[in-house]
């Protein structure tokens, strides 16, 4: 694609946020016509900030942007649209109570004519192979449908340059393939596409070129077909990274938790778990595979004492063999029983941490009951926070920074750090590396492994099957709230697990 012209050129772009946090420093980037460019970098490396400056959300402190070789100034999202730039944000910018069509025409001038808008939406859908119902309300849509609406919204405004911020993070493998097909169609149509991702296999599959950022600085651009994951990772991280996950043999494993006949019905009256029975051993990692929303959350919350259970039992077996029933207990009572149970929930800022409190106060959430007298002990949580920040390389201006100001990966590190600091007997994690870059992910895997070696029974709910099969000693496959199979992690086959995730045993024809 050497003959293609640059649709966008960014020159010496610098952006800082208050308190001297440098998000981008002297970045140079070219986006060519009819080309898909991957923007690769760790969490907090400034990918999204850079693209937000193209889409008018932020304005650069210095540097120049050229569209079709003409210098431009993009001061608002409207300016960006006028220049043919559209961005699909990681957190969708849609109004839930409005329909797809209403969302798509939002912000456009002229008389409100939804009928002709719907006709144009259908036309765009046919052209690129989307599937959208313009009259459907957003709150009735799946994540993938919402994303489609976002992309159509951008195309409806006549965008020639599309930026997709981590579009695949929330999609199933099948939905990802569908998205990639659409992206290829748009590329054929002469559009320029930028995809922000940190899944290397996706970079290789979809993009022509890959541009790498590290700590806000531009490192270089590679031709995708001439490079390999190791080279990309090394450039991204700045030093060599071992891309292997260890799987130490379980030592002295003993039965820790016995789950028997667990049934859960959620608030809407839908059955989420049906007769779930399994055992967890100390010093072992039990991986849980399944399409998202098929009972993982309810299962973990039942064990943690957060979910009302219809029937069934969860028995905790102590080192000395005494058995304790956990059903009917709340987290506080479970703790009083002497069961150290750590839980890294899926919803980090909702259930795990308080966004407006700083790191040290968030540590205190776990320990404030331990101090005696009427005053809280602030010193030890502060020390703990400092140690975790140092140990896990949390990128933060200081211990006193509110957690919500940290990037997603760093929030996760704080949470995992706190939970592991408990030296838990049982560690439960849900999608622990969601949204994390490679380097942080591997740090977290190591941490989980270290807990396993220390004798914790680990439940690992994951979405990346490759990782799940590499780290788990046993893999339990959930399908629609049923335990479909429990396999040995060392021998299980990815496609077998994939099939078990989607169809209940017994229903498998052929």
């Amino acid at each position: 694609m050497s003959d293609s012209k640059a649709a966008v050129s960014m020159r010496n772009i610098t952006k800082t946020f208050g308190q001297g946090v440098i998000a981008n420093k002297d970045v140079n980037l070219d986006i060519n016509k009819g080309e898909i460019l991957s923007l690769l970098g760790e969490n907090g490396s400034g990918k999204t900030t850079l693209m937000n400056m193209l889409s008018g959300i932020y304005y650069p402190d210095s540097g120049e942007i050229f569209i079709d070789s003409k210098p431009v100034s993009i001061r608002s999202p409207k300016d960006a649209y006028d220049l043919g730039i559209g961005m699909v944000h990681q957190h969708f910018k849609l109004v839930d109570v409005l329909s797809a069509a209403q969302n798509i025409v939002l912000g456009l001038p002229g008389k409100l004519d939804l009928k002709s808008a719907c006709a144009r939406i259908r036309e765009i859908c046919d052209r690129y192979g989307f599937d959208v119902d313009p009259d459907k309300k957003i709150y009735n849509m799946s994540v993938s449908e919402k994303q489609t609406v976002e992309i159509v919204k951008v195309l409806y405004r006549g965008a020639d340059i599309l930026i997709l911020d981590e579009p695949t993070a929330v999609l199933t493998p099948q939905e990802t393939q569908k998205l990639f097909d659409v992206m290829r169609n748009m590329k054929k149509d002469g559009k320029s596409l930028v995809i922000i991702t940190h899944k290397l296999n996706e970079v290789q599959e979809i993009s022509d070129k890959v541009a790498i950022l590290r700590q806000g600085e531009y490192i270089g651009t590679l031709i995708t077909k001439d490079t390999n994951p190791q080279e990309m990772t090394d450039m991204m991280v700045g030093h060599k990274v071992e891309l292997n996950i260890e799987r130490p043999e379980p030592l002295n494993s003993a039965l820790r938790i016995r789950v028997k006949g667990l049934n859960v019905v959620n608030e809407e009256g839908i059955k989420k778990l049906t007769d779930v029975s399994f055992d967890i051993y100390s010093g072992e990692i039990l991986g849980i595979a399944g399409i998202s929303g098929c009972g993982q959350k309810e299962l973990l919350e039942s064990i943690a004492g957060l979910q009302k259970v219809e029937s069934g039992s969860v028995v905790y077996i102590d080192d000395d063999g005494t058995e304790k029933e956990l059903i009917g207990m709340d987290p506080l009572k479970i703790k009083e029983l002497g069961v150290t149970l750590s839980f890294v929930p899926e919803d980090r800022l909702g259930m795990g941490l308080v966004g407006n409190m700083d790191i040290s106060d968030n540590m205190m959430l776990r320990s404030f009951r331990d101090s005696h007298g009427i005053f809280t002990d602030r010193k030890s949580p502060h020390d703990r926070a400092e140690r975790i920040v140092k140990l896990l390389n949390v990128d933060t201006p200081g211990i006193e920074t509110p957690v919500r100001r940290l990037s997603g990966g760093n929030v996760q590190k704080v949470l995992v750090g706190r939970e592991i600091y408990q030296r838990p007997k049982v560690l439960m994690t849900a999608y622990v590396v969601r949204g994390l870059d490679i380097n942080s992910s591997y740090t977290i895997y190591e941490l989980i492994n270290s807990q396993k070696v220390a004798g914790a029974a680990v439940i690992f709910v994951g979405e990346d099957l490759d990782v799940l099969l590499q780290i788990s000693d046993k893999v339990m496959v959930l399908c629609d709230g049923h335990v479909n199979a429990i396999l040995d992690g060392r021998t299980a086959d990815k496609s077998e697990v994939g099939l078990l995730m989607t169809s209940l045993k017994g229903e498998v024809t052929d």
């Binding site: 946020f17 889409s55 959300i57 932020y58 608002s76 999202p77 409207k78 649209y81 961005m87 944000h89 910018k93 849609l94 109004v95 839930d96 109570v97 409005l98 209403q102 969302n103 025409v105 939002l106 912000g107 456009l108 001038p109 002229g110 008389k111 409100l112 309300k137 709150y139 919500r404 100001r405």
Partner: protein
């Protein structure tokens, strides 16, 4: 039947201030601003009109009033007063991003005090024995009905016996409902109240929408105060007479699930509940029961709030970002 015939016009008369307040607050809340200052704004709207007409009446030294000026002066004064209140609220919450609840409550306290202070000053100026100001000449223009209304029998009594502000209130509610439902401006306003980040990314000027809708909402609500003094109370201002109608108007917003057209019926209903105690026979022996019946609108409000909070439909929920301030570069 006679009792009913006299009940309806009084219920409407009580309902119109609520309708103005409710419509104004709907417009405001649709932009994501929870303006709890509405009761204060209605006081300011009322006293501003009173101040205007007081000086106009006094400047004439007993000569007859010009009909056009007698209406325009209080109307513009009232709109100006509530406009300034709206600008103050927006400056504090939108520009300076102060907490909306605190700002709103402070403005209600301020507005009520403002009304009573200047009301008291005017009473002093007029050197009367009674603690009220009577602007009956101005009121005559505000409460003037169509000439044939009194000849139209029961129909006239129920539908035509009101001053022009009552019809303006109903028209405003219908126009607001239409704008919100059918126009692009309405769509944009709803987007601002539901998700300002989305609206911003779509190129909608969030600050402008918040300012315009909140100030417009305040001006509509302020007319409710003006209607109360000039028409319902026949031009008599006495301190604290407006009472807690502003709070009822805010409760009505929830009752009407943010729909201005439903507000028309709902405000008449609540206006009726407000005076229902006068129509329930108690007998002279048990006057204390009347005091209990006065609680009816508040009890109904509580019941309604409980019922409405049980609604689950997404369309019936408050605007998603209601009460939250928007800052583009917030992370």
């Amino acid at each position: 039947m006679l009792g009913f015939l006299s009940f309806i016009p009084r219920a409407v008369g009580q309902g119109i201030p609520l309708l103005f307040g409710c419509t104004g607050e709907i417009v405001t809340e649709k932009s994501g601003n929870l303006n709890l200052g509405i009761p204060g704004v209605m006081y300011v709207g009322a006293i501003s009109g009173v101040i205007g007409s007081f000086f106009y009446e006094n400047s004439l030294n007993g000569r007859p009033l010009n009909g056009f000026l007698a209406i325009t002066i209080p109307l513009l004064c009232s709109l100006l007063g509530s406009f300034l209140m709206g600008m103050l609220y927006c400056f504090l919450t939108v520009t300076l991003r102060a907490n909306q609840n605190v700002t709103g409550l402070a403005m209600t306290t301020f507005g009520v005090g403002f009304g009573n202070f200047f009301g008291g000053s005017l009473i002093k100026l007029s050197n009367l024995d009674v603690p009220t100001i009577a602007l009956s000449k101005t009121s005559a223009f505000f409460s003037a009905t169509l000439p044939f209304a009194s000849k139209a029998g029961w129909f006239g009594q129920i539908f035509l016996s009101y001053g022009f502000l009552a019809y303006l209130g109903i028209a405003t509610a219908l126009v607001v409902a239409f704008i919100l439902k059918k126009t692009r401006i309405g769509l944009h306003l709803r987007a601002v109240g539901e998700s300002p980040t989305t609206a911003d990314a779509a190129g909608i000027n969030v600050t402008k929408y918040k300012y315009v809708s909140t100030v417009a909402g305040c001006m509509i609500a302020g007319l409710g105060g003006l209607y109360y003094v000039m028409d319902y109370a026949s031009g008599v201002w006495s301190n604290d007479a407006f009472g807690d109608r502003g709070w009822l108007a805010i409760a009505l917003v929830i009752f009407t699930i943010w729909k201005a057209d439903i507000g028309i019926l709902a405000s008449v209903l609540f206006g009726g509940l407000y005076i229902l105690y006068l129509y329930i026979p108690t007998g002279m022996a048990h006057m204390e029961l009347k005091e209990l019946y006065k609680m009816i609108p508040y009890i109904v409000t509580l019941v309604v709030l409980i019922i409405t909070s049980m609604r689950n439909r997404r369309e019936d929920q408050p605007p998603a970002s209601l009460g939250l301030n928007y800052f583009r570069e917030d992370r």
